[in-house]
Every structure is written in C-alpha cells, then in structure tokens.
C-alpha cells in the first residue's frame, strides 16, 4: 500500500472545510487541533460516513471517493476500521458478539474468531459481559478488538484515549501505540492533545478552523512552529509583541502590556515570541542578576500545579506565562499564588513568529 490521499472541500455549519493531506503507507498520522476544527469530520469523510461537497479519498490503488468521477463507496465497502470517541459498543450485545458483528461466516466460526481477538487484547474473560458492565479501559480493548477483527487497511481512531481517566490514559496510550505498530494498517488518530499525538503518531497534521495549518513530526512542530497557534498547541508559551533590531545582532521585542525580551531570531514588526516552559527559570524578585539569561521579566505567580515530578507555575507577566520546575526549586523559592518573582530565559530559547 502506498498510503492514503485525502482531499476534501465541505461547507460545515460554522466554517468551510478545505483539506488536502497525504499519509505514507505503514505510517501513523495524527490530526490535532482544538474541538470544532473539523478533525472528526475528516475521519467521517475517509470512512464514507459523510459525503463532502467535493472530495477524493485514495487508498493505495483503490478509489474510495472521487466526487469528480462520481465514485463514492459506501462505508461497508471500504476496508476501513473506525474506533469512535466513546467506542460506540453495541449496548445490547455481549463483548464477543460486538467483536463478531463484523465477521463473516457461521456462528461457530465468528465466535471462535471473536474470542481470539478478545484474547489478543487480554479481555477474553469478559467475552460474555455487556458493555455497560465494563470499565473504560476494558471497553477500549473490546472496541479495538472489534475494529481490528476485520483487518482494515486504514484504521481511524477518534480521540482514542479521551474516554479514559487520567490514571489509565498513559498506560493505555503506550499499549495503543504497540497495537498500532503491530498492525499493518495505516492509522490516523484524531486528538486535541498534542502530547497524545506525539506519542502515537510519526506524522502530525495540525488543524484549525477546517484547514491544515502545519504538518511535520512532533519535534519539528515543537521546534519550528509556523504560527502562534501551533506553538501554543505544542505547549509553548506565546507572548505577543512588536520586534525591532537591537544591539548585538538580536531582536528586541516590546511585549504587549509591558516588558521587553530579546531573541536571536531576526524580525521587525508585530510578532509572537515563543518559549518552552522548561526553558524558563524563576529567581527571587530581589536577586542579583548572575545568570547569563538575557530575558528577565518581573512576574506574579497565579497558580502552582504539580504534574508528577514536575510543577507547572502559571504567572502573569502581565501576559500569561508558564514555567516548569522541579518540586525542589518550587519549595526553595516559596512559590504560591501572589508571590512576585523574576522569570528568566535565554535569548537563544526565544523563537519569533510573525503575526
């Protein structure tokens, strides 16, 4: 299989969907973006559940949709597996009957193959349970078993982890990745969570308001976001301001709302300055300026949130700013809402994007 080619133009209720994308065979792609960006609509178009005004879906040598030539295969004619956001398990059927639903053959054959599938995902003991009595993680496994039972050549996953609680999500994510690697299918994952996309896919399409705004690997998108939107999505701090050339071959950015920072990127005019939260360090407000970091903003701490062994500190500079620190330095700085500190980072860690 040489991959999937998708072109779709479709008037939706609130926006115009206009997308062209290509996923190489054997690769895992993710479409990320905020809710309402049109991500799920794209999946539905690939699966044949929605017919766009104009569109083309090519899978290897097969034409699934070509509105120009009047070709539009029905969903059941497309070798396409779709895992829905809340799994859409049939509530009136037991787990094995859910898996057997899409299988051909007589009852005995279908049951045997369904049980094999459930065993593959470690849930064969739940074969006779109805979906309502399963936990979120178990439902996800049954749904995966059901979707993969038909050996689809394209696998579509709509927010595969969002129905799980935060504790099971990380583990389920790694398991899902192993599963996706194990199948020969081309997979497209839709998610609103950049880190989920980075984990599951090697090719990421960032989508906003019906359009693909940037594509690349997770590392590429993080390091070279094409817009403030992508940067924000990839986890960057985004500061709006106006850039002008400054001494030492740097740019100086006058931030909206006050404060000046420097960057090694050269721009003139309205820009957004991007910096990753882990590049920012905090020091007491009255400290002497010892570090080599050129950028130093007085800030007020707004929130302190522990995430595992890291602490995310939300601040006002007065534009919103986020730093990630260890629990140790959070304690030694006595950080809590209301405390005033200085945020510092290097000019070399400051990316500029025109706005």
């Amino acid at each position: 299989m040489s991959g999937l080619e998708l072109m779709a133009h479709d008037r939706l209720r609130e926006m115009e969907l206009a997308v062209e994308l290509h996923v190489d065979g054997q690769r895992r792609a993710a479409i990320v973006g905020p809710s309402g960006a049109g991500k799920s609509t794209l999946l539905r178009i690939v699966a044949g559940l929605r017919r766009p005004d104009r569109g083309r879906v090519l899978v290897g040598p097969e034409v699934w949709l070509d509105s120009g030539r009047g070709i539009n295969l029905s969903p059941e004619e497309r070798a396409c597996g779709f895992m829905f956001q809340h799994y859409a398990l049939f509530p009136h059927l037991s787990a094995w009957r859910n898996v057997a639903f899409g299988l051909p053959g007589d009852r005995r054959v279908r049951r045997r193959r369904a049980l094999e599938q459930l065993e593959r995902f470690g849930v064969e003991s739940l074969a006779n349970a109805r979906p309502a009595s399963l936990s979120g993680g178990e439902r996800q496994r049954v749904a995966l078993a059901r979707t993969l039972a038909r050996d689809p050549s394209v696998l579509l996953l709509d927010e595969p982890l969002s129905a799980l609680d935060t504790r099971t999500r990380a583990h389920a994510g790694r398991e899902l990745l192993a599963t996706l690697r194990g199948t020969g299918a081309l997979a497209i994952v839709v998610t609103h969570d950049f880190s989920e996309a980075a984990l599951l896919a090697d090719q990421i399409f960032v989508m906003d308001e019906g359009r693909i705004v940037q594509q690349g690997t997770a590392a590429e998108l993080s390091a070279r976001p094409a817009s403030a939107f992508v940067a924000d999505f990839a986890g960057s701090v985004v500061l709006g301001g106006t850039a002008r050339p400054a001494a030492g071959g740097l740019s100086e950015i006058e931030l909206d709302g006050g404060g000046v920072v420097n960057s090694t990127d050269l721009f003139r005019g309205p820009v957004v300055a991007l910096v990753f939260p882990w590049e920012i360090s905090l020091e007491p407000a009255g400290a002497s300026h010892e570090s080599s970091a050129l950028n130093r903003l007085p800030v007020e701490v707004l929130s302190v949130t522990e995430i595992g062994n890291r602490v995310r500190v939300g601040m006002s500079a007065p534009q919103p700013l986020v730093a990630e620190l260890t629990a140790e330095s959070t304690r030694s700085l006595g950080l809590r809402p209301g405390v005033r500190v200085n945020a510092t980072w290097k000019a070399t860690a400051t990316r500029l994007v025109p706005r």
């Binding site: 539905r44 699966a47 044949g48 559940l49 029905s74 969903p75 059941e76 497309r78 396409c80 597996g81 779709f82 829905f84 956001q85 809340h86 859409a88 049939f90 509530p91 009136h92 059927l93 009957r97 057997a100 639903f101 899409g102 009852r107 059901r146 038909r150």
Partner: protein
C-alpha cells in the same frame, strides 16, 4: 416549614391522581364477584367478542409494526423539509374524536367514500366486516406506536449506527441489528400503548364496522350492547377486559425490560 408544606402538597396531589384514576377500576371489581367474571366467560357471545378483540387488535398491531417501524425510523433519522408537517399529520388521529374518525373512515373507505369504488372493484369489503374493524383499530392505534417508536429511534446514538456501517453492515442491516434492538424498550412501550388503545377502541369501530356479534362486535361494543339490558353482565365483561388489558400491558413491559428483543440478536 414552607418546604415541608410543599412536600406534603406533592404527596397530596399524587394521592388525588391515584385515587381518581384507580377508584373506578376498583369499583368494577367491588361490584363483580370472581364468579361473575367466570360465568360471563361462559356466555358464547362474550367469548366471541373476546376472541374477535384479540384477533383484530393483533392483526392491526401487525400492520402497524410492519409498516410503522421503518416509517418511524425514517422520521427519526433523516432530515427533510416537510418532516414536521408529516409528523403533525401522523399525530392528528391522536386528537380526533372517535366519532370523527368513524365518519372519516366511512368517507374514505365506505361504499360511497373516496376509495369505495376502487375497493369494490378489487372485491374488498370493509364496512360491517371484520376487516373494517382492523382498519378502524389501525387508524386510531397507529399514531401511538409511531410516536413512541420515532422517539425511541431518535434517542439511539447515531455513532452506533455508524459503527455498524464501518463494521460492514448495510443500512438495512444496521437498522435491523442495531437500531431496532437499541430502541427496543421504547418500541415495546409504544406497542403496549397501541395495543391498549386498539383493545379499548369503540366509537370509530361502531360507526365504520357496526356491532354484529361474531363479526364486528369487539369487547367494548359487547359491553355497550349489554349496558342497556343487563348491567351486571356488562360490568363482568368490563372486568374481564380490564384484567386482559392489564395483563397485556404488564407482559409487554416485562418483555421490554428484559430486552428479549435485543438479547436474541447477534
């Protein structure tokens, strides 16, 4: 204090509702001994009326389910321009007085009605015939079923139907294997309502099909026929109808709850 008074008012309201709705039914059985009930079953025309009621209501129900289920599914799952008009038209018989329904049926399917000639040419006679009873029952009971079934289908998660399609099911198969079982409870309660309405149908049947023992005299018509001559036996037959209706309602509800409809499909 005020909160307690409101709570008491709620209970009082429920008590009044319950008393008003159940007292008349209780009264039937106060006046009718079990012996009367059984002896009323011994009369031939009472048995005929019961048998006829059962046959005609089941026949009407079969027609309603076979044609009404796909129609309700269409109304629930497709958007089209005249949809709300169609829904209103379908619900119209719900508010028609039975006498109006009877006249309307005569005006359309009677010998001099709109389709009377066509039916006559086809050799179909409805008026004063058992078939006419079935037509009358279908007319008055169908909206109850259609309404419930439509609501039940509309409540089925569309993703389930989409999932069925991506698992290789045609639209028809998704309807039979997923939509119908998932809407099973609503469908069965619609079935119970329609059946209850059909069993109790009186006015439209009387006007359209008449009241001939053994041919068109269903239980409600038989009760009315006895009412002027023999109140006790009318009461006894009423008691039998109440028991049968209650039993049907109960069994359909139990059937729906145990999801027999759903469990069998795979």
């Amino acid at each position: 204090m005020r909160r307690a008074a409101f709570g008491a008012a709620l209970f009082l309201a429920l008590f009044l509702v319950l008393a008003f709705l159940t007292l008349p039914i209780v009264a039937i059985f106060v006046h009718t001994s079990p012996g009367d009930l059984i002896s009323s079953l011994g009369e031939e025309d009472a048995r005929d009326a019961l048998w006829l009621s059962l046959q005609t209501s089941l026949a009407a129900l079969a027609v309603i389910v076979i044609v009404g289920t796909p129609a309700a599914y269409l109304l629930a799952t497709r958007e089209f321009r005249a949809r709300s008009v169609v829904v209103t038209l379908i619900e119209l018989p719900l508010v028609l007085p039975p006498a109006v329904a009877g006249i309307a049926l005569l005006a359309s399917f009677g010998p001099k009605g709109l389709f009377g000639g066509a039916l006559d040419d086809a050799g179909i006679e409805l008026v004063l015939q058992t078939a006419g009873v079935i037509v009358a029952l279908t007319f008055v009971a169908a909206p109850f079923y259609l309404r419930q079934a439509q609501e039940a289908f509309a409540a089925v998660d569309r993703n389930l139907l989409d999932a069925a399609r991506t698992l290789g099911a045609s639209e028809a198969r998704a309807f039979i294997r997923v939509a119908v079982p998932c809407a099973g409870q609503g469908i069965t309660s619609g079935l119970a309502l329609a059946w209850g309405r059909a069993l109790g149908e009186f006015g439209a049947t009387l006007m359209f099909a008449g009241s001939f023992p053994g041919i068109t005299q269903t239980v409600p018509l038989a009760i009315f026929a006895r009412f002027s001559s023999d109140f006790t036996s009318a009461l006894a037959l009423s008691g039998v109808l109440v028991l049968i209706s209650a039993a049907l309602l109960l069994s359909v509800k139990i059937l729906g709850r145990s999801a027999v409809l759903g469990g069998g499909a795979a």
